[in-house]
Structure formats: C-alpha cells, structure tokens
C-alpha cells in the first residue's frame, strides 16, 4: 500500500468521523413545541390570575393539566420522528436528549413535592412560583451543558439568558407579573433557539 493511498483512506475516514461528530442537533422540533406551549400556558396563567381573562382561579388546574397532556402527546409524536433522523445517536444529540430528560424529571419531582406540601403540609399555591425559577435555571444548565459538549457553542447565549431569567423569576416571586414575564421570556429562551436549531439542521 502506498502512502498516498493510505492517506486517502485516512482522509475518507476522518471526513466520516467529522460528519458524525459535527452532526446537527435534532431536538429543535421538541423545543419549539414545548416553547410555544409553555409560553402560551404561562401567559394564560398570568391572564387568569390577574383577572384579564375574567375566569375563576380553579381554571389554573385545567390549564396546567392541559399543558401536560398536550405536551406529552406532542412529545410522543415528535419522538418517533426524531428517532429516525440520521445522527440522532451522535454524542451531541445523546447529551442534549439526556440533559433535557433529566431537566423534566427534576421539574416533575419539584412539582410532586409542592403538591405533597399542599396536601399534607402548609404549602400554598405560591410555591409553584419556584418551579418557574427552577425551570429557567435548569434550562440554562441544559443549554450550557449541550454547548460545552457539542459544536453548538452559540447555545451558551440562551443558557446565560435562562440563568438571568432564573434570577429575575426569584425576584418576582409572589408577584402575578412573574407569569407574564416568564411567558414572554420563554419566546426568547426556548422558541427562538429551537427555531435556530431547526434552521441549522435543515442547512446540513
């Protein structure tokens, strides 16, 4: 075997390895679906609590149960589509899937804790305000980790924005405007980054 032939073969292998390593993130549609849903739900939450919609407060339960049901169905539908995409199992995509799954587990456990506190303890509905702050904090962590572990370094910016939103959410704790703030901020921290991710995926 000649040097030239060997080097050609190695270049071919390098190109293939790089195409796998630099594979685009495929989770954009998930982010877009959850981002639009979350933004609409948070804004509706604000509209109910502030009296803008002129609806009784017990509609909040229906709103959030609807959010969970629609989100779960949407995830199931998108999940089967994303699974069949090429490079779905690249390291970057595995990291992204893993951090967002753990993020939802974290929020779920906080939700269970709050409900238990309300049933068995002295918890008040205001405890749910913490979920908003924790959501933004977890989101920041997920973005920052994905940025570090993949070629998508730009994700650090929505990560930083999410951390700032986390601090702002704690500052707004107990104020009804928290939910309006969160609804609007979600457009910038989830919807727009998801659209960019989808654009980058389509470009490849």
């Amino acid at each position: 075997m000649s040097n030239e032939q060997l080097i050609n073969d190695l270049n071919y292998a390098t190109d293939l390895a790089k195409s796998g390593q630099e594979a685009p993130l495929v989770g954009g549609p998930f982010g877009l679906m959850w981002g639009v849903l979350l933004s609409a739900t948070l804004t509706s939450h604000w509209a109910i609590v502030s009296g803008t919609f002129n609806l009784p407060l017990d509609n909040l339960w229906k709103l959030w149960i609807g959010f969970a049901v629609v989100g779960s169905i949407g995830s199931a539908i998108l999940g089967s589509k994303v699974k069949s995409k090429p490079a779905n199992t690249s390291t970057a995509n595995k990291v992204e899937q893993s951090v967002w799954q753990l993020f939802s587990v974290m929020l779920g456990t906080v939700w269970v804790g709050i409900v238990m506190s309300m049933i068995f303890g002295s918890g008040t509905p205001q405890l749910f305000d913490f979920i908003v702050a924790m959501g933004f904090g977890g989101q920041g962590l997920a973005y920052a980790h994905t940025a570090k572990m993949s070629h998508n370094k730009w994700l650090i910016y929505p990560g930083i924005a999410s951390f700032v939103a986390c601090a702002m959410s704690m500052a707004l704790h107990g104020h009804v405007e928290l939910y309006l703030f969160a609804g609007i901020t979600t457009v910038f921290t989830v919807v727009l980054p998801s659209l960019k991710t989808m654009g980058l995926e389509n470009a490849k």
Binding site: L6, Y12, A13, A17, G20, A23, P86, T89, S90
Partner: protein, 103 residues
Amino acid sequence: MPNKSSNIDIDAIDEVIHGRLRLGIMAYLSAVNPASFPELLSKTGTSNGNLSTHLSKLESAGYVTQEKGFAGKKPQTLVHLTDVGREAWIDYLDAMRSLLPTQ
C-alpha cells in the same frame, strides 16, 4: 521494522478494520453510535450488498453488532460499535500514528 519514508508495512495494522469501507464504518460509528443501516449507506456511499459484507466481517470480529428491529412499522437495522470494537479502533489509530512518517 516498517519503512517510514515511502511505502508503509501494514502488518502491524488490524486488517479487520483496515480497508477503506470498514475504516469508514468504524470512523462514523466512533462518533454516531448506533447508526442505522441506511444512514451508513448514505454516509459511506457504497452499495447495500457491499455494506452488508463488510459489516459481517466487522461483526465476526466482535467489533460491531447488528440489531434488527422496527422503527414504527418499518424494519430497521441498527449497527452498534461494541466496547471491543472501540478498543480496536483506538489501537488501530495508535498503530497508524506510529507508522506514519513524523514531520
């Protein structure tokens, strides 16, 4: 002793991996694991039969496993790089590095 200046003696190199297509398969699987059969077809640009033949060779050596299943209602074959395969891939790269002429 390999000649480092002109032609390379590849005796020291894992022959199961070496070969343009198997090299490409191993390289891609090192980054995307598992990969579907159609994905490998598209990335390597080879034919169905050729890919099957080379995957069988890698599978016989224990470097990859092929998992037959379904994606929805469609049959799908997923190719996994095994731990033994990853180790062999790293050893292969080390061997190549030691054989190539240093600048």
